[in-house]
């Protein structure tokens, strides 16, 4: 996979990332693991999980996946290709848009996109867990889902608990 191909794929997929960048993970997985075979299933899920445990925006998964393909050049390529053009789009909306004041279009569009985004996120979660055959791993994922949905706890603590349980060989 050349840097140009890598760049093109991350650029295209960034254009359908609405609401949550992680929602397009299944398509990136298909390109990198299933089609180009530039990393294993385990490397993909491991790197993805690590990027979610790191501080800052959750979009950094594109950075580590690029790094796995082509080192620092790959990391810069995927990050800039995914975030560069979309940032310019946001900038253009701010610069040339009509300041969307008293307009309701963005609420309608958000309500239309949200159901699809929810589905893509479910696919992403499934992708991360489908190879986890251990009941403890599945239990941990379900527990984390419930805690993070219905409480205000930061994921940091759960990540630490997950890492500790895993290191001790329970997951």
């Amino acid at each position: 996979m050349t840097l140009l191909q890598l760049s093109w794929h991350f650029f295209i997929v960034s254009l359908v990332a609405f609401g949550a960048a992680t929602s397009v993970t299944p398509d990136i997985h298909r390109a990198l693991v299933e089609n180009a075979h530039v990393m294993t299933e385990e490397q993909f899920t491991g790197l993805f999980a690590m990027s979610q445990a790191a501080p800052g925006t959750n979009v950094m998964f594109v950075t580590v996946l690029g790094w796995q393909v082509a080192g620092l050049a790959g990391a810069l390529t995927t990050t800039l290709s995914f975030l560069g053009p979309t940032s310019l789009i946001a900038l253009s909306v701010e610069r040339f848009g009509t300041r969307y004041r008293n307009a309701k279009w963005h609420i309608s569009i958000r309500r239309s996109l949200a159901p699809v985004t929810v589905g893509l996120l479910l696919s992403t979660g499934y992708l991360l867990q489908r190879n986890a055959i251990s009941p403890a791993g599945i239990g941990l994922a379900i527990a984390a889902t419930c805690v993070l949905t219905w409480s205000k706890l930061t994921p940091l603590w759960l990540t630490a608990i997950g890492a500790a349980l895993g290191a001790a060989g329970y997951v």
Partner: protein, 199 residues
């Protein structure tokens, strides 16, 4: 701070006045520093951290304006947080401000995830590290599921969300249809349904 998510929904009430009248420009370096701190500290969703920095601490904009910006950036493609940094950076400090805010937001996590990736490559074969990553993966899956559920909970017509979400998920995960095609087919249908519902 916990009700920021509901605040974005509250942006549905149109603003009575324009709060973005004349304001002093913010220097690109100040924006870069502010957003770098967010990038460094933010765990579990960047929004509350950006809110705390730009609304509560710096008072660069009010709650309503923040909620509007976030709401619009959510529907734009890409990463919401980066879109917000670009938008706010531009509004507060022009093109240089936008660059400062975006680069500031991304640089600390960029360096941190790469260090983590290098360590993972180095020590990933150790049983303890291997196990720890499995544990973290389970929590990461939970985080993604929770993001989906919270987004679903914020929507007015839950059954519409359920139908579309299950359709998209089955098409992609079970039938392995291309994500682009699934999004391209479902979004227009969803837009039409929303348009008919509000008409």
């Amino acid at each position: 701070m916990g009700n920021v998510a509901s605040m974005v929904e509250a942006a549905e009430e149109p603003a009575a006045h324009s709060s973005s009248a004349a304001r002093a420009p913010v220097s690109p370096w100040r924006l870069a520093r502010t957003f770098a701190l967010v990038g460094l500290c933010a765990f579990g969703g960047v929004m509350p951290w950006v809110y705390r920095a730009v609304v509560e601490k710096e008072k660069w904009l009010d709650e309503r304006e923040f909620a509007e910006v976030w709401s619009v950036c959510m529907i734009l493609p890409g990463a919401t947080s980066t879109n917000v940094a670009a938008t706010l950076g531009y509004r507060l400090g022009g093109l240089r401000g936008a660059t400062g805010a975006t680069v500031g937001l991304l640089t600390p996590p960029f360096v941190i995830v790469l260090i983590m990736a290098v360590l993972y490559k180095q020590y990933g074969a150790l049983p303890a590290v291997h196990g720890a990553v499995r544990g973290v993966t389970a929590v990461a899956a939970g985080l993604v599921f929770a993001t989906a559920l919270k987004l679903a909970k914020s929507q007015p017509r839950k059954w519409v969300v359920a139908i579309f979400a299950v359709t998209a998920c089955v098409a992609i995960s079970i039938f392995h249809w291309p994500l682009m095609g699934v999004v391209g087919a479902l979004v227009p249908i969803s837009l039409i349904m929303e348009w008919r519902a509000v008409r």
